[in-house]
């Protein structure tokens, strides 16, 4: 092993000074780039959904609700997602047999009002 002494990291630090910083470009404007398989917000496809409720049953936080806004015959299904409750586990996506749910790479939902966190999909 080398001899001990203070400031062993100084050389690396000096070298780093002339290196490009490891920092991302993102400063809050626009949408950030995330990994390909990152679990972001849930997407919903009402055309294939049969309102079986499996997603609601398995959701650990009760963040998702499938509601029929139309009548019994003329169904108009919507999913209400409380982003403020969702933990982005995507269990609902796994639970859905009809593949009506999927996830996006959308990660930025900072809101100044709590009400805005509940969104209709």
């Amino acid at each position: 092993m080398n001899k001990t002494g203070p400031g062993k990291i100084a050389l690396t630090a000096l070298k780093t000074l002339f290196k490009k910083p490891a920092t991302t470009e993102y400063t809050g404007k626009g949408s950030p780039e995330v990994e390909k398989h990152y679990r972001g917000r849930i997407l919903y496809d009402p055309t294939t959904c049969v309102a079986c409720g499996l997603c609601m049953r398995d959701c650990p936080t009760g963040a998702i609700q499938i509601i029929n806004e139309g009548t019994k015959e003329d169904k108009k299904l919507v999913a209400i997602l409380n982003v403020g409750k969702c933990i982005f586990c995507c269990q609902c996506v796994d639970s859905c047999n009809k593949n009506s749910l999927s996830y996006s790479q959308d990660i930025d939902f900072a809101m100044t009002k709590k009400e805005d966190l509940i969104i209709k999909l």
């Binding site: 001990t4 062993k8 990291i9 990994e35 398989h37 990152y38 679990r39 398995d58 650990p60 269990q91």
Partner: protein, 401 residues
């Protein structure tokens, strides 16, 4: 007999060295710690009770969030418990993927720890460097698991995500880069005098004490106890993976640092082994929603040590009792010895050296100072502190720290 130059300072619950709430009332004589009262419990959420009213599937995500750092270890233990009660065997591939993620988690956790430890002793550059490199691991985890923290790779009966050929390549590349860096850390840890002077002889928990206080994980291994669940009681893929137990004899913070750095190297080797021998096959098997009645105890090696899960089922789809014994809980008991006689400056690093996470521990213990009889509960201690100040004309009761 209280000598008069004593002063009690509270560290926490909000304090820069604690990113989680906890409270340490440290009594000082000059800069020397003569007494410490440890209060954990700020983070008690009561999640075990909640687990008794949710289904196994939902609980999986709650258990994962017992702790954000070793979420995978908790998730794996919980899944293994359910699988064992249900009597299913999960596919080989799933076991290997779990092992890969577990080791990646260990890597990220140890890097995180190294950074935090350096931050505690005011070595911010090292903190920045380690956390920068930790991003490499997080990138893999995010791509593989889908999240940077609570990856959610486990599901009851297997795993949810696959490692494809591309991913194998990316992981290998990242590991190579990381290996280089690890070498650099080893070098620094062995040669930087200011670092060594802050770590050596600090927070000593000798071999005997480590046994007595039931230390686990790197704390125990740094005291020369070759205790590692991956070897002692292999589970999942570890039955086939060769794991070398890293031990050290320093028994102080320095030893813990060395153990963790070397374990990182070992984790890299394990991941490489797993990637080389990744079996083919399905990712998961079906497990019925209702779990047959029974009880089981599962042990898993989390980054911080042995993690014990107790699960009891009553035959429904809701567990009857879930109990998590996280490694930090076991390590708290030795804290008394480690803090005693040290300096105030050593308190943060000593606390950090067990890599505490209150989110799963949250309880409080009173630490008595050796043979001396001045043991207070924290209220008493606080009162003592207040009196001490009053004698000097300072009223700290109104003071909020």
């Amino acid at each position: 007999m209280h000598s008069d130059n004593r002063i009690t300072i509270p560290i926490g619950p909000q304090h820069p060295s604690l990113d989680e709430p906890g409270r340490f009332d440290i009594t000082l004589e000059g800069e020397k710690v003569v007494n410490a009262v440890i209060g954990v419990g700020y983070n008690h959420r009561g999640l075990e009770k909640t687990c008794e009213s949710k289904t196994y599937v939902q609980n999986l995500y709650i258990i994962e969030r017992v702790c954000g750092i070793c979420s995978h270890a908790h998730g794996t233990a919980f899944c293994m418990a359910i699988e064992q009660l249900a009597g299913v065997t999960i596919p080989k591939r799933a076991e290997y993927i779990r092992a890969v993620v577990a080791e990646l988690e260990r890597l990220h956790s140890h890097l995180l720890w190294l950074g935090v430890a350096c931050h505690e002793i005011g070595f911010d550059t090292m903190f920045m460097y380690t956390w920068r490199n930790r991003e490499k691991v997080l990138d893999i985890l995010a791509d593989l698991g889908g999240n940077r923290v609570n990856y959610g790779v486990n599901t009851i009966g297997g795993v949810r995500r696959d490692i494809d050929a591309d991913m194998v390549e990316t992981i290998r590349k990242a590991l190579d880069a990381l290996e280089e860096e690890t070498k650099h850390y080893v070098e620094i840890a062995y040669t930087e005098t200011t670092l060594i002077s802050r770590l050596k002889g600090v927070g000593v928990l000798s071999h005997e004490d480590a046994i007595r206080y039931g230390a686990v994980g790197p704390v125990a291994r740094a005291a020369g106890i070759a205790h590692d669940v991956r070897v002692d009681e292999p589970y999942g893929a570890y039955k086939e993976i060769p794991v070398k137990v890293i031990t050290d004899t320093h028994a102080d913070v320095y030893g813990r640092t060395v153990v963790r750095i070397l374990e990182m190297q070992e984790s890299i080797n394990i991941i490489r082994f797993c990637l080389d021998n990744l079996p083919d096959g399905p990712l998961s098997v079906r497990v019925p929603r209702r779990i047959p009645a029974g009880e089981t105890i599962i042990r898993v090696e989390a980054p911080r040590g042995e993690n014990i899960h107790y699960l009891r089922s009553n035959g429904s789809d809701i567990p009857d009792r879930v109990r998590v014994r996280a490694p930090t809980e076991a390590n708290w008991h030795g804290m008394k010895h480690m803090l005693e006689g040290g300096y105030l400056a050593d308190v943060p690093i000593t606390i950090a050296a067990i890599d505490p996470c209150y989110s799963c521990t949250d309880r409080a213990i009173v630490v008595k100072s050796g043979a001396k009889t001045d043991c207070y509960d924290w209220r008493g201690l606080r009162q003592y502190g207040i009196d001490w100040y009053k004698k000097r004309g300072i009223d700290v009761t109104a003071l909020k720290v």
